[in-house]
């Protein structure tokens, strides 16, 4: 039942050590690398890929299909990066889809378009960041609950977008096709917009894992009072998190303009739910303080691959929805299982 006495004596030496020694290595090496915790998601993705290879062998594994999946994931992917920051920081942003729509509309008004594509891009990014800043101010300094503040922004930004566009879809004009080329031009067979997505993900990862900003984000979300007493300006940081999310929405607006050649108040409908779901499936806690960019992107890819598989298999909507519900549950259970077996 118990190990022999001398053996025990060995282990005992550092007071609480027996507790420590065993688990720490594996825990550390792996959780820090963020591999173990994503194993379940990777397994789920692999399973989906297998389904794809079995059901639509000739189309699923083609380069063009992979590119198509990534292009589809790009817009909401950029938003998901911002959302990951906000949620790790203990908040939530429901306004992402609406802010993206507003930015796309603002950037495609006749007035903006007359200044050329770069001003349009600048405009989208500024509008997004501005809306995010307003969210941040309301939450950090107005002390509104994030859910309510960003819900109000969702509603107001959609309204404003409808008003600016007179509810019409605004085409990117001939002179500004540079923007559209982000989606049509390919480098090494891959559209520029996928590279932009990749760059945002990498920058997001670096910001979260290699900078003081990232550190503070975890601290602010994990224990705001401790962060405050450690001298971190929690309010300012919170505000910046929402501005960052807004910035991502602005970038996403550029991508959606490139892909659809339009700005419209209907863009990004329900993106907030998809982005939040991806982040949470990716293992980020809704309560804040924990989470990874890679997890969120894996979560998003699962959703995108599911959609792609449905497209390729021509399933009808009802069956898709039912299947999607089940797959979400299974993916999360898989992930939990793989996490638990490690600890």
């Amino acid at each position: 039942m118990r190990p022999p006495a001398d053996e025990r004596a060995q282990i005992k030496v550092p007071a609480p050590a027996p507790a420590a020694e065993g688990g720490s290595l594996s825990r550390l090496g792996l959780t820090r690398l963020g591999e173990a915790r994503h194993l379940g998601l990777v397994i789920a993705l692999v399973l989906l890929a297998v389904v794809g290879l079995v059901t639509v062998p000739e189309t699923f594994a083609t380069t063009s299909n992979m590119v198509s999946i990534l292009s589809l994931a790009a817009t909401i992917g950029v938003i998901t990066v911002g959302m990951t920051f906000v949620i790790i920081g203990g908040g939530i942003d429901l306004s992402v889809g609406a802010v993206m729509a507003l930015a796309s509309v603002w950037a495609t008004t006749l007035a903006t378009q007359s200044y050329g594509p770069f001003v349009m891009i600048l405009c989208a990014v500024l509008v997004g960041t501005g809306a995010g800043l307003v969210n941040g101010l309301l939450i950090a300094y107005g002390r509104l609950v994030p859910f309510i503040a960003t819900l109000a922004m969702l509603v107001a930004a959609r309204g404003l977008a409808q008003r600016m566009s007179d509810r019409k879809t605004q085409l990117v004009q001939q002179g500004n096709q540079t923007i559209v080329e982000l989606s049509t031009t390919r480098v090494l067979g891959i559209p520029v917009l996928v590279y932009i997505f990749a760059v945002v993900v990498v920058l997001g990862w670096v910001l979260l894992n290699r900078t003081t900003f990232g550190r503070r984000t975890y601290a602010v979300g994990g224990n705001p009072e401790a962060a405050r007493l450690a001298g971190i300006d929690v309010r300012r940081h919170t505000m910046l998190l929402y501005a960052l999310s807004g910035l991502c929405c602005g970038i996403a607006a550029v991508l959606i303009m490139a892909r659809t050649t339009t700005g419209s108040s209907t863009h990004g409908d329900l993106y907030e739910l998809d982005a939040i779901a991806a982040v949470i499936i990716g293992g980020t806690l809704l309560t804040g303080g924990r989470g990874t960019i890679i997890g969120s992107i894996l979560g998003l890819l699962i959703f995108t691959v599911i959609t792609n598989l449905f497209i390729l298999n021509g399933l009808n909507t009802s069956d898709q929805l039912i299947a999607k519900g089940l797959i979400i549950v299974v993916a999360v259970l898989l992930q939990r299982r793989s996490l638990e077996s490690r600890t």
Binding site: M1, P16, R216
Partner: protein
């Protein structure tokens, strides 16, 4: 009384209890024997397994091995309800109250007086009022929301809850940690009442003098094992108990004070500091190399004074750091100017529990380890490792989640956060709350060493001997006023107690 009790059959008999957590063997074959009507003390260092053992006894954890007999019968405590039904009630170490509910609702949570599911709130309030009166706290209203109570009052509510059950054995896990010592006396009065009625009490505390005062017999745990059973609490020498707990001969003494009063430059000067309704017109100063202690009752405003100085709450008056007035820049400004605070509630106010020790240590000095926001992770890790070694934080693994450390080691990590950052003034609020004897001695040494290196230290503690033993100079606070100031050598515990309660020294 203990003599009489020892002849009767044990009320509780735990044998060979083993409890394994992932990667941790918290209990490794613990034996415990409790007699009816006795106060049985459970001693052990932080992380020895005391709380785990009583959680097993409360049905909150299921043991992996071992047997439990209660009242002569072998029992299986499959849930908290099962334990409560047997007459075992527990006051947990981490306050187990629901902030959003009222006092009465908390007291009767899980066993509300109800008919067909409808709570009879009047009855609950009345019963709660009686319980609180019995505990000497008739002033706490049964209808107050618990979230608004002070930690001490919460402890009383916890106690009332334990008593609300028809109980034969009460387990108290560090009930005195949040209490000032007049409160503790009250607690002891109740314990004596209970034991007189034949109720047994298991009492856990890191304050050895309490054990001596209230305890009958002592069981000592070390590293999840029983190392001594049934020692007589009054007779066993302290040194022997400490040796059993720590495996070493730690002297429960304070590091030597510097010979003459500190003459360093004034680090902190406070003039007419006032937070309306909490404290008024507080003025004093702290010199470099000096430890100034604030003594006072719970609720006398000591924490608020410290928080105001630190910029964590609004105040009127002036705070002057090294000759320059501090503008109200919030905590960020205070940290930038060279202050550091080890707050009262470690877990709630200081630690990122899920993060590693290293990240907790460097939290307040991210700027030092970065250029243009980019973290120099190698240097950060090196310094953190150095800090862990310097303060002898155990286990010496900077990457371990801080949640898994014992209280004393967590407290050291909080101190390390400020040591790594070169402070001018350290504000310590109850630095040894819940910290075991061995770790305490080490903490005292660290604080003294810091002072010797020229840092000014402002110390708040509810344990008067600690203030007297560690500080150079003592300020006595009563109801938000400084009523006395003297060198620590000129005071003794009795005089300080008189002052903080009666103000007789005025």
């Amino acid at each position: 009384m203990p003599e009489a009790a020892s002849e009767t059959a044990p009320m509780l008999l735990m044998r060979g209890i083993v409890k394994q957590f992932p990667g941790v063997r918290a209990l490794d074959g613990v034996d415990l024997e409790v007699l009816p009507g006795e106060v049985h003390c459970l001693l052990g260092q932080n992380g020895a397994g005391k709380s785990t053992l009583i959680k097993v006894l409360a049905g909150a954890h299921q043991p992996d091995e071992g047997t439990i007999a209660f009242g002569g019968q072998e029992v299986r405590l499959s849930s908290p309800t099962a334990a409560i039904r047997l007459g075992i009630s527990t006051m947990y170490q981490e306050l187990d109250l629901v902030d959003g509910l009222s006092v009465a609702e908390n007291v009767f949570l899980g066993h509300e007086p109800a008919r067909l599911g409808f709570v009879s709130q009047g009855e609950a309030n009345r019963a709660t009022r009686e319980l609180l009166a019995r505990l000497g706290h008739g002033e706490i209203r049964p209808t107050t929301e618990v979230g608004r109570l002070s930690p001490a009052a919460k402890q009383v509510v916890s106690m009332a809850r334990a008593l609300s059950h028809d109980t034969r054995l009460i387990v108290m896990d560090e009930p005195s940690a949040a209490l000032a010592h007049d409160e503790v006396a009250n607690l002891f009065r109740i314990i004596r009442e209970l034991t007189a009625q034949g109720v047994a009490v298991i009492y856990i505390s890191h304050r050895l003098e309490e054990i001596r005062e209230i305890g009958d017999r002592v069981t000592v745990l070390k590293d999840g094992r029983t190392v001594a059973v049934g020692l007589p609490a009054k007779e066993t020498p302290t040194s022997q108990v400490v040796a059993l707990m720590t495996g070493r001969n730690v002297e429960y003494v304070f590091p030597p004070r510097r010979a003459e009063p500190a003459t360093g430059a004034e680090v902190l000067r406070v003039e007419g500091l006032t937070v309306p309704g909490v404290f008024t017109d507080v003025s004093f100063s702290v010199r470099a190399g000096e430890i100034v202690g604030l003594a006072g009752l719970v609720g006398s405003g000591r924490s608020e004074i410290i928080e105001a100085i630190y910029g964590a709450r609004r105040f009127s008056g002036r705070v002057i750091l090294e000759g320059r007035p501090v503008r109200r820049g919030g905590t960020t400004g205070a940290v930038r100017l060279g202050m550091g605070l080890a707050p009262e509630e470690r877990k709630a106010q200081a630690l990122l529990l899920g993060e590693s020790v290293a990240r907790n240590i460097t939290l307040a000095s991210l700027g030092r380890y970065s250029r243009l926001g980019w973290m120099d992770r190698r240097r950060e890790a090196e310094d953190a490792r150095g800090m862990v070694a310097a303060l002898d934080i155990r286990p010496p693994d900077p990457e371990r989640p801080v949640r898994t450390l014992s209280g004393g080691n967590q407290q050291k990590a909080v101190l390390a956060r400020w040591l790594i950052n070169g402070r001018k003034l350290l504000l310590l609020d109850e630095p040894t709350r819940g910290v075991d004897v061995g770790a305490r001695a080490e903490l005292y040494a660290v604080v003294r060493k810091l002072a010797d290196e020229g840092i000014g230290v402002l110390l708040v503690s509810s344990e008067v001997p600690e203030v007297l033993g560690l500080a150079d100079r003592v300020l006595v606070i009563r109801e938000g006023h400084i009523i006395h100031e003297a060198g620590a050598g000129e005071l003794d515990e009795h005089r300080v107690l008189d002052m903080i309660m009666e103000g007789s020294a005025l």
